[in-house]
Structure formats: C-alpha cells, structure tokens
Symmetry: C2
C-alpha cells in the first residue's frame, strides 16, 4: 500500500476532481487491498453508458475513438480507458493527423487515461472493469474502453461494456476469418473503417455473410449493423453514433441491459473470489505445500491432477 | 462423463495406439473428472521436447510446422497439437501447396490433432498442457503446439513449451509493435517467414533492435536468434532446426530446463486448484450466495469488492 493510494479521496472522485480520478485509476491498476478499500468507498455510479472499441492493430481504433469523443460530447461528458499499448492515448504514435488529440484533451468534460494490468487481482479485465466503475462514480456519461487485438483476452476486456464496436479494415480478412466465432460473440456493431481503401465491398460482404449466418441460427438476437467509416476524415461517425443508439435502445427493451449488467457482475464477483483464492495459494503455508506437491510430481510419486485435488480439498477445509 | 471417455485405456496410450491417443485427447478437451482420472493413470512421460509455434494469422505457421515435422522426423517421432482454428490441421485452408499434408499425415510416427477448449478446467492452456502430457506419455520425441495470435491468451497457451518460435512476416510490423513486450517475453527463436517478400530486411532490423535492446537490459539471458525462412519453399528450415537445438542446449546448462519445467508445473498446479475453486462457486449452495450478493450490490447495500471478500472468507471456512 503506497501513500498515493491511501490519499485518494472518494468524495473528490465523485466531484470529478481530475487528480483524484487519476490517483484512483492508479490504485485500481495496482490492485490489492488499497484498491478494494477505495472501490468500496466510492458511490455506486450506474449511470455511465459503456462502449468498447476493439479490433486488430492498425484498424484506426484511436482515431475512431477521438471522433466518437467529439460526437458524444454533445450528449454529455466522456471518459476513455485505453488498454491498447499502440494507442496515442498510451503514448503510441497517432497515424491519422486530421483529428487533433489536443482538441479533446483540453476539454474538462473529457478524461483520457491509459491502463495496464500490474497487480490487479483477476488481471487486466478486472482492472478495466474497476476503472470504468471509478469513472462512473465520477459522473461521466460515457465511458469508452479501447483495446487492441482479436485474441481471447482482448475480448474479455471489452466484455465489461454495454455496446462493443469491433473495428476492422478492408485488409482484415485473416483476422476476421481466424476470430470469427469470437467476434460474432462480442460485436454489437461492426465498424468497417478505412473504407476509402480498395476491397471495402468484399470485406462488407464477408461481414454481412457472418451476420446473416448467425441470424439464421440465433432467432430474436441482436443482428450487429455494419457501419462503414473513414475515421480520419470523419466519414460515417454520425451513422456510428446512430448504430450505438440503436443497440442501446434494443438493450433497454425487455430488461436486457439489466440482465447484461447482472451477468457481468456475476462474472466479476466469481472471478474476484477465485483470484483471492489463487493469491492465497502463492503465499505462506500454501506455498510450501505447493512446492512439496511439485517434488512429489517430479519424483513420480503423485500426478498433477491428483495433487491439485488434494490441495483443493485441504484449502477449503474438507480434507 | 461419456462412455467414450471411460473407455480410454492408459496402457494403449502408452503403447502409442492412435485410437486410444485420440480418445485421450478428446477426454482432455472435455475436461472434468474423467480427464483427471485418465491423466492420473498415465505414465509420466518427461521425455518429449515441446516446441511452440505462434504468430499472427497468415504468418505461415502451419506450413512451417509441416516443414518442421519433416525435418524432425530424422530425430524421432513427432506429434502436433493445433489450437489454431485457421490451421489446415483444424480444417482450415492450406495456403502453401508445396508441402503436402498427406506426406506427413500417413506416417505412423507422426500424430496431428486439433484442439479447442470445451470444458477443461483452467481453459485452453490447461487443456493443451494436459494434451502434451498425453502425447509425452505415448512416447513421442517431439511435441509441437501450433497456436495463432499475438494476444495474451495465445502467449499463455504456448508457455507450456520448452522452445517457443514466434513466426512473423515482413508485413507483421503492426503486430510486432503492439505485442513487443509480450513477444520478447515468450520468443526463444524468432522466425521471419515469407522472407522472399519485400521489406524482409526492415523487419529483420526491427526484430534485431528488439533483441539487442533487451540484451542490454537483461544480462545473461538467452538472446533469441532470428531465422529467416521461406517455409513454402523449404528455405531456412535446417537453420531453424539448428536454432531450436541451440536453445535446447542452452536450456540444458545450469539446470535451466528443469527450472523452467518446475515453474510450468507450479503454474499449472496453482491454476488447477484455483479452477476447482471457481467451479465450486458456480454450483449449488454457492450459486445462491453469489446471487444474493449480486442483489445486495444492485441495491447499493454492498460493494462488489466487499462482497467478494465476504464470499471468499466464507468459502475457505474463515467467516
């Protein structure tokens, strides 16, 4: 527990004090008891609408995020958590130069912060979910989470959001093919960005086929719209905001949003409890037991799975 | 527990009966008690040398893997686990046509199998580690694990191997930039494949700079060699086998291989115990407690982190 973490004032976070918010997010990033204490002291937000922006490297997610910030500012305050190490928000290079980061960064109703997992229990997705809670408690109307990749862990990070945008380009064929099932699982809106390049129609058709194939199997589900954009030129951003609004309206029906947030809470709670347990295993008495089990496995006296069963039974007091 | 899982004969696996091996791998993929029982009954292998092959989609990993199979066959039997959904081993399309899959698939000393995570406790990386144990118990000399992606979960899958090859192409700039730290952490050998394309030198220089930068900071560590290949034409494969041998020899010094395998065992054991705990949370009495905690969180009577602490204390019998 560092001094910095201890001096976060929950009331200052709730009053949207930028320095207090930054400290709170640092505490969340570090994780541990200090973060848990802080998070327990924050008022419940539950007002912010959470948008995820994910996709392969080079898809233009950061430029798109900046356009979104500008477009959403007419509807409230906006905070961004960037977990993309190549994002300009995280110190990476900004490729599209038509959108100026300073235009949004100087706005007091905009808060941008990069985040990495350091000690947070449950890893990066837990830290991002906690970070979004901090921004929600600070009263932001919109929280955007930008993350890079098409791998499973990236998908997990973005799962903490209400509406997830999957951003691809006309060149993303390999990535889309590889991650097909995963993308369909998480995409609420597909964004075909850099649509001024060749092969935009081919990619659009590929996405269309994926969405249609799913629609034939899963009845009454949300069919992700495909929005074509050129984020660097601001093209298609209004349509994208409209698509987000459409998904939000759909979620609002029949208690779907409450259900989605409940499922998210269930997952976070189970993961937090399991992570506490895992941390316990690495410490003190458990560490010694783990090592002697490893000796037994190496000597061939015990198998990995039998040792795991014995340790588990012991840990929960059933042995 | 299905009938199929129950009928796996550990002795038949050890005798390298192909059908028994296939059934054992299916059981491992499904996970659960049947898999644990089977794994506990298998003889400890500990002879197979495990090679990971990972990299972004389209890097040519499957073609490279097939070339590796052919090259390693002179030094023993070879088994492959493909966790890459775009791999021809998993039913995907084979792009390079100069290597014929049938050339290797008909060889009784070669075993190729795709794998996905279904119910395995601890997810895909646990299933792959268990699968490699099965192949080790079956007496294969080489076990290759092919996985796609540059995300964290892909890196975790490949972490079960002794030597990890990270395969990139001259066009992989974005991916390499994004995943730099993660790649340096897992790469024992870099493979610059499709090196007959333009920009091979630029990519080679980028990799070289990464390796050199790390070497200046981390003293006495292994410096990953960079092998340039054209897998579809068989170019550079001998050099690659040499690089793998070099890393293996380095691991053999000063007890490094034993240490690496111990660390791997420690991680698997902790994860198995934690996963058992997490599974327990989803069931019976725990499920009801989880739901009432979620009610309390939704009503604002409790915070997520306080609820997690209380559930944990209760679960390990300390409340």
């Amino acid at each position: 527990v560092t001094a910095e973490a201890c001096t976060v004032d929950p009331a200052a976070v709730a009053a949207r004090d930028r320095r207090a918010i930054a400290r709170a997010l640092s505490a969340v990033e570090r994780g541990g008891a200090a973060a848990a204490t802080l998070l327990a002291a924050l008022p419940a937000g539950r007002r912010a609408y959470r948008i995820g922006v994910t996709g392969p490297p080079g898809a233009g997610k950061s430029t798109l995020t900046m356009q979104l910030i500008a477009a959403l500012r007419g509807r409230g305050s906006v905070a961004v958590i960037a977990v993309d190490p190549s994002s300009p928000f995280s110190g990476g290079a900004l490729l599209g130069d038509r959108v100026r980061m300073n235009d949004v960064a100087d706005d007091p109703e905009v808060f941008i912060r990069s985040m990495a997992s350091r000690g947070a229990l449950g890893g990066l997705s837990a830290a991002v979910a906690d970070g979004a809670d901090v921004l929600d408690a600070a009263g932001f109307d919109w929280v955007i989470v930008e993350t890079v990749g098409v791998g499973q862990s990236e998908l997990e990070v973005v799962r903490v959001t209400d509406t997830t945008l999957v951003v691809v380009t006309p060149e993303s064929g390999d990535e889309v093919q590889t991650a097909k099932a995963g993308l369909m699982e998480i995409a609420d809106v597909f964004v075909l960005n850099k649509d001024d390049r060749p092969d935009g129609n081919a990619m659009w058709n590929a996405l269309r086929r994926m969405v249609d194939a799913r629609r034939r199997v899963v009845v009454d589900a949300w069919a992700p719209p495909i929005v074509r954009t050129v984020a660097a030129g601001g093209r298609g951003i209004d349509a994208l905001v409209g698509a987000i609004g459409g998904h939000r309206a759909w979620l609002g029906e029949a208690g779907r949003l409450a259900e989605r947030r409940r499922a998210r809470g269930r997952e976070r709670l189970s993961n937090l409890v399991a992570a506490r347990f895992a941390a316990q295993l690495a410490s003190g008495a458990w560490h010694a037991r783990l090592e002697s089990a490893l000796d037994a496995i190496e000597d061939g006296r015990e198998t990995l799975h039998a040792a795991a069963e014995a340790l588990y039974a012991n840990a929960v007091g059933r042995a």
